[in-house]
């Protein structure tokens, strides 16, 4: 993995120790501001039957799992374009059907958003991909780092899991 992300600046929003570790191992530096790679990890919402979800809880899941991702990606892409450089957006979260209806809606929307932004920003050199998985270990980190690297230069608009059934 050494060198996959040498010289690249990554901004990770959300919590994933495996991704942080893998990006460091791949040579990326963590950045708070300007970045070449933006990773957004959404926390998994609690699993509740739909009829027990309040609208406020529903909205909180959609805010974190969809709206914040879109707005953050748009800001990131705008900054890349302003610099005249390509970039990488990577969304990470739980599988569509793994939790509640809030997650199903957010993850489904995110998947098709990924496919859309991947094409809309392709000629800006900005790739957009999503990992939807229950996995939180090393493979998640390694896959995230690979997708963020130039080795995945021909992968955009892709939505994938890790474990069987993701």
């Amino acid at each position: 993995m050494t060198g996959w992300l040498a010289g690249k600046r990554v901004r990770i929003e959300g919590d994933s120790p495996a991704i942080a570790k893998a990006f460091a191992a791949a040579g990326a530096t963590l950045a708070d501001g300007e970045a070449d790679i933006w990773v957004h990890v959404a926390p998994p919402p609690a699993t509740r039957p739909a009829h027990e979800l309040s609208h406020a809880e529903w909205r909180a899941s959609l805010d974190a799992g969809l709206d914040r991702r879109f707005l953050g990606a748009r800001d990131f892409a705008a900054a890349c374009r302003a610099r005249g450089e390509g970039g990488v957006v990577l969304f990470v979260g739980a599988p569509e059907q793994a939790l509640g209806a809030d997650q199903a809606a957010a993850a489904g929307a995110l998947g098709n958003l990924t496919k859309t932004l991947g094409v809309e920003w392709a000629r800006d050199g900005i790739r957009v991909n999503t990992i939807l998985t229950r996995e939180i270990g090393d493979t998640l980190g390694h896959l995230a780092a690979y997708l963020a690297s130039d080795y995945a230069a021909y992968v955009t608009g892709a939505v994938m899991g890790i474990a069987h059934g993701d």
């Binding site: 993995m1 996959w4 005249g84 450089e85 390509g86 496919k115 859309t116 991947g118 094409v119 392709a122 000629r123 800006d124 050199g125 900005i126 790739r127 996995e135 270990g137 090393d138 493979t139 998640l140 390694h142 896959l143 690979y146 690297s149 130039d150 080795y151 995945a152 230069a153 021909y154 992968v155 955009t156 608009g157 892709a158 994938m160 899991g161 890790i162 474990a163 069987h164 059934g165 993701d166």
Partner: protein
Amino acid sequence: MPVPVHHIVALPPPFDAPPYPADIFAGQVVLVTGGGSGMGLAMAKAFAQGGADVAVMGRSLDRAQEGAAQIAALGARTHAMSCDVRLPAAVAAAFDEAEEALGPIGLLANNAGANFPVLAEDISPNAWNAVTRIAIDGTFLCSTEYARRRIAAGKGGAIVNNSAQYIWTGFPGDAHSAAAKTAQATMTKKLAADWAPHGIRVNAIAAGFFPHEGSVSARREEGVEPLQNMIPAGRTGSIWEFGWLSAMTCTPLFGAMTGQVIVQDGGESLRRSLIMPDYVPPRERADGPWGWK
């Protein structure tokens, strides 16, 4: 039309800079079906770059041997052989031959396939059977032969299948391959479930357009250069980046990955718009069923 100069095109590292160390597959043997040329050869080279020994299986022994020579030049031990992957006894015999020559098969890449543009009404029964059964039956027979051997030996393993970017959309002008490649992807998920208890991982790459000497596009008079701008990424794929991603799924770095179908097509399968050029049925396209113009 060339890609406008103000567009940014993301490029992969060069072939001699693979994403994993040269010993990541050390001591392992990979069997690559259709490994003598094209995408299978790219897979085989990627495994060889990680230190694997390579059994190259092809319909044509000559072509398998030519590919094996290129793989051997990377430092791998190789064994070339001829096999029709549609025949169970032939598959079993080929595994025996490969294991006799190189040792137990630890990894499997299912690439064997045939593909050519043809109108659905013009596909002969023989052509239909060839394209679908090489990919569908061949992937099943090679995978099950492999898995039975791994399970009997009490060892896990990894399989990677070469699928295609058109498996979700259909492929007008290529009905046989549309069916065949989707079957490979859907069986990937079920085989992964069946063999998860045995530690055998199964993944697929839904590959986009990776021109090579044997591809139909390479026979166009203009070559592939004019085709770069039709793909959102601004280029066709470099065949080694397909080989790398395929091999990556079999490394311990992706050790928890199974049952996945990863699309690698530069966004080609996604480029649709609500307003698009007039629809032309494949049989009325001026340059044939695939209609590149």
